[in-house]
Assembly symmetry: C2
Homo-oligomer: 350 residues x 2
């Protein structure tokens, strides 16, 4: 049995809608903050880390209408992976051994990683494209945190952070995009070059250092120094993202207009494989679910339940899968269990 | 509309059973014969070819309890391709423009190509592994033909043929084998080397000069000179073929015992793709049907109708497909029509 007490809400980070949700899965804003009087995490002693952990654990229930606290030093590895899969902590934060933790609201929209790269990494994650709202929310959480904790702040540079790319506002803004039509039309490289020219980062489904899988991409700003939060939000949110969304929409329309049978073939083959395979690895599953999601958004497979597809994106990941099955599984066992779960959840024929 | 008067029996060359039919699709014996007093086909004048055609067309109704005659010089190209797909004529015989034809029985088990490489190529094709019976049958047909026609025969060499590899008995014996388990276990190359050492030829689904597709292989003897029909049959039929059949049986048992989930995954993925795809090309279809046939033979997909699978192996080929649809189709159109036909015929879920 999996040794976990963590309980999660039914809702999931993949989002249950929101503006432009056919292309934008979720909106995320993250603030990097450090506590005055303490060295950065990498230089802090175990004792100092422990003090920071204790401070946040004590305050967390008051922030954002109440957050739960998870002590990651004590959490079993499967629980930590579960938190990674739910986007509540980073892969690096799941590793480590020193005092560290995470606080999050029951609905998982707000979280605070403690002793990751910075003392505090505050995150707000919301479904669809709603970065302005997400920013307003995190700004309020930031104020609440600051009412209890003294931030390291320089009048010249702004918020001080462990990594120079975060100095200033300490803000990182990102969206999870679903761009299957651009990939099917061979236009992803064009997008990649364009965002690189704008000093934006296009990352994979699993975040920093990962390749795009299943046509899911995380697009985020890179630098924060010397610009206000509003400037960063303005360029990115009102300029770049709507352009990429529009570009994906046009690609979908072009496929529907000019290559409809090809598109249907791709979508229904994905359906056929997901409802028939006896072995599924995580990457293939993501790729096939991506095509089903596209088909569902375009009305090509009408009887598919979009909620089932969305939840499978989360539940077919290794830790979630093992939690559902209720036991630890090796890779071979996960491939079998994943295929069974997918068949069960997609039961019924389009 | 397709311009054809050809009518075919429901039965098809893929066989409806017969001994060892889980591995041996069909047994074929072919005799190369030439008519005394005429040069070989390549050297014959149009007038001489015409005389040979006229002779066979006149005699055919009396042979093998009655054969129909098709004048290939007059047949539309789609009809000729149809005859190729039904194994009644060779690809080379379908091409050409000079006087030539084919006679065959209504059940298509006996056929005589006229003015292919030799004046006469007599063939008997039967389902499953029954080469002795097939040989007995062709021996009787050979006698019937010889009662009307003087063969070119040398006391020293035997039957004279256009190609030296056929001189002697003029016999070629072949079986169509279905070897999916050997391929899945990576053992096909071993078989290929072994049969090559025995001077046998392993060819593809579509015969001479083609690659194996969908795990279907034609295995045939190569040389005929200096050996009696009985010797050729003995070595091949009682020695080699049972060994290959046994080898495939063991591979199937090993997969079932050691890699059952992998095997089921392969079979059900094939099912998922065949029942979902909107575009199917001929080779992929053959490959997927091969896996379904394996799954059906092993009882993994029980509700699949083996007859539907068997007939699809024939009907998804280009000329048959166009005949069913009732119009000429380009390659793109055939991919759509093939996927529709397959979905329709496999309707129902295992």
């Amino acid at each position: 049995m999996i040794d976990t007490d963590l309980q999660f809400a039914d809702g999931d980070w993949m989002g249950g809608g929101g503006p432009a949700c056919d292309v934008v899965i979720s909106s995320r804003v993250r603030l990097a903050r450090n506590i005055a009087g303490y060295p950065f995490v990498a230089k802090a002693s175990t004792q100092q880390r422990q003090e920071i952990v204790a401070l946040v654990a004590r305050c967390a229930p008051k922030w954002a209408d109440g957050m739960v606290w998870v002590d990651l030093s004590a959490a079993p590895s499967l629980d930590r992976t579960l938190l990674v899969e739910r986007r509540l902590i980073s892969r690096n934060h799941a590793k480590g051994s020193k005092p560290r933790g995470v606080a999050f609201t029951r609905d998982e929209s707000v979280s605070v990683m403690v002793n990751e790269e910075d003392h505090l990494r505050i995150q707000v994650l919301q479904p669809g494209l709603q970065l302005h709202e997400t920013y307003e929310r995190i700004d309020r959480v930031d104020d609440e945190v600051e009412s209890e904790i003294d931030y390291s702040f320089s009048n010249r540079f702004g918020y001080l952070t462990a990594c120079p790319t975060n100095v200033g506002t300490g803000i990182r803004v990102s969206v999870m995009l679903h761009l299957p039509a651009l990939r099917l039309r061979g236009e992803i490289e064009k997008v990649r070059r364009a965002v690189k020219d704008m000093q934006l980062a296009l990352r994979g489904f699993h975040g920093e250092g990962t390749e795009a899988t299943g046509d899911f991409y995380q697009l985020s700003n890179q630098t924060t120094l010397g610009r206000s939060e509003r400037e960063i939000l303005g360029d990115f949110v009102d300029g770049v993202i709507p352009s990429v969304v529009e570009y994906e929409h046009r690609a979908r329309e072009a496929l529907l207009a000019k290559r409809r049978v090809f598109l249907e073939d791709q979508v229904f083959r994905a359906w056929g494989l997901l409802t028939s395979a006896r072995l599924l690895d995580a990457d293939e599953t993501l790729q096939l679910l991506s095509l089903i999601r596209l088909g569902s958004c375009l009305g090509l497979i009408e009887s598919v339940d979009p909620i089932a597809v969305r939840s499978l994106l989360l539940l077919t990941q290794p830790a979630h899968l093992q939690r559902i099955v209720g036991k630890r599984l090796d890779q071979a066992g996960r491939r079998i269990a994943r295929a069974e779960l997918v068949r069960e959840r997609l039961a019924g024929n389009p």
